[in-house]
Amino acid sequence: MSNTVMHRTGDRPQRFTLNTNQKAFLLFLLILGVVLLFWEAGARLGWFSQLMPSASATMKEFWWWISNPFFDYGPNDKGIGWLLLTSLRRVLLGFAIGSAIAIPLGILIGLSEVAARAVDPFIQILKPVSPLAWLPLGLGLLKNSESTALFVIAITSIWPTLINTKFGVSHVDQSYLDVTRTLGASRWRTLSRVILPAAAPYIVSGLRISIGIAWLVIVAAEILVGGSGIGYFVWNEWNNLKITSIITAILIIGVVGLLLDRLFGLLQAWVAFGQKL
């Protein structure tokens, strides 16, 4: 009897407490509401420049772009789906080229101390260069805007993957190598069955950083090179003074970047087998 009473009184306050996730979600909604309200009021009361659309107008436009992603009325009038596909194709192709250079080279310099020291000055000097600085060089070398975009993305994708691959390959747990040595495994077998799987989580985390940077860079590259893609769209809509389209594009670029990152996050978990980086 007294037990049930205590139980009830103990239970009651819990009905109105929220867990961390729920609290965070409410706070998120609050922040979102405040931002939208400020934006709407600012646009209507003329706090911003004349060009700035209201939040409600932007949301309507956003919905229009989203609900009809695959129309095609000529080169400068395509749905957001086509624009994204064009940019994604470029990024993935450039990223594949960059990775195809970075992973084998990373393995090589991870295995050979001499090669690592020889290549290190190149990496150290080229890594901090903004990818866009390569653009004019790409145009000069390749004379073609499409190849130049790929060239810039490829160069961008190299560094994080290269450095992570090198680290992963050269920091394989000594006890794994001791096992292969006591078994008398060949160099090739040690590499393919032990070193590469052990380095895989590092390689994938390099790829994850690389694709993130490549997605950052593609927008800038397309603005500069022109022609097609989501970056070119942003620039084109600026020339048409259509800020609503630009905001739409910004949100969609963000979402796609997030999805790419999550995809590589899944891949990372898939190759980790409980290992912590």
């Binding site: 006890s175 001791d178 495994a185």
Partner: protein, 298 residues
């Protein structure tokens, strides 16, 4: 003169020995280049082992016990071929070794299982590497046999991160035995396990050893473990320049059981002797540390 007699002695004894360690010394050379000195990371040379001689007969279970840091792992790694002695040789069946090889199966304290391979794949990897000419079905049969031997039937397709420490070390044992080595080397294989699991695995090792009677070298810091499992116990002195202080014979009948072990004649005498040795050596290590600390602070 002394080297001469010791040479004769080793030559005479190695006739029946399966493994002979002759005059093995190991010095870890310090760093004294200008860069290490400038960054105050210079270290002195450290002689871990000095003139170790050890003969091991076939089908013997030998434990090595000594104060922590005396050089037990160093000695085992030299026998495994993973590390080179500064002087002396290790020979198996009279042939000096030069490097690691599948005639010696190693069981590691941290298990050293490949996380991306299942239990079965870890064992198959070892078999395939050592015996690439075996047929696939034969390899599978050997792997399954050893999985059964260590009592892991049903866990074949799990990955190491899904196993407890005790189960991981069972895989380690199965992998080492599956390549059918002449000698099994174990470096504190149960050191990372809780007391109960450690007891279970010791019993398992005793049971498996009764079946296979392979030559085993076990490094341990547990007196009970050494007494339960060994035919001979090698007691080492403290480092630097660690030597073998004494080799004890453990004449207990087999199979042995943990519960009735203390009823074996000589159990208490052996245990007391080992305790005395270990506590003396450990106390001396502590005292020299305190003295060194006081000297460096003065």
């Amino acid at each position: 003169m002394t080297t001469h007699t010791s040479l004769i002695r080793t030559a005479a004894m190695s006739a029946s020995a399966q493994l002979s360690v002759s005059n093995v010394s190991k010095t870890y050379f310090g760093k004294r280049d200008w860069f290490s000195r400038a960054t105050r990371k210079a270290t002195l040379d450290y002689t871990a082992l000095e003139d170790i001689n050890l003969e091991i007969e076939p089908n013997t279970f030998v434990s090595i016990i000594g104060p922590s840091g005396c050089g037990k792992s160093t000695l085992l790694n030299i026998i495994a071929g993973l590390s080179q002695p500064t002087a002396g040789t290790v020979a198996i069946g009279g042939t000096p070794i030069n490097g690691p090889g599948p005639d010696r199966g190693v069981i590691f304290q941290n298990y050293a299982l490949m996380p991306w391979m299942t239990v079965l794949d870890n064992i198959l990897f070892a078999i395939e590497t050592v015996k690439p000419k075996l047929s696939v079905s034969r390899r599978m049969a050997i792997a399954q046999e050893h999985i059964d031997l260590v009592g892991l039937r049903g866990a074949e397709h799990r990955h190491p991160h899904e196993l407890s420490g005790g189960m991981k070390q069972r895989v380690g044992i199965a992998r080492a035995l599956a390549i059918d080595p002449q000698i099994l080397l174990m470096d504190e294989p149960f050191g990372a396990l809780d007391a109960l699991t450690r007891g279970f695995l010791q019993d398992e090792v005793e049971r498996i050893w009764e079946q296979q009677r392979k030559t085993v070298i076990l490094i341990t810091h547990s007196i009970e473990e050494a007494l339960l499992l060994s035919d001979k116990i090698v007691m080492m002195t403290r480092g630097p320049e660690a030597r073998i202080a004494r080799i004890l014979d453990v004449p207990f009948s087999r199979p042995r059981h943990r519960e009735s072990l203390d009823q074996q004649a000589a159990y208490h005498a052996l245990k007391a002797e080992m305790e005395l040795h270990l506590s003396q050596e450990t106390r001396a290590v502590e005292e020299s540390r305190i003295r060194r600390k006081a000297a460096s602070e003065a």
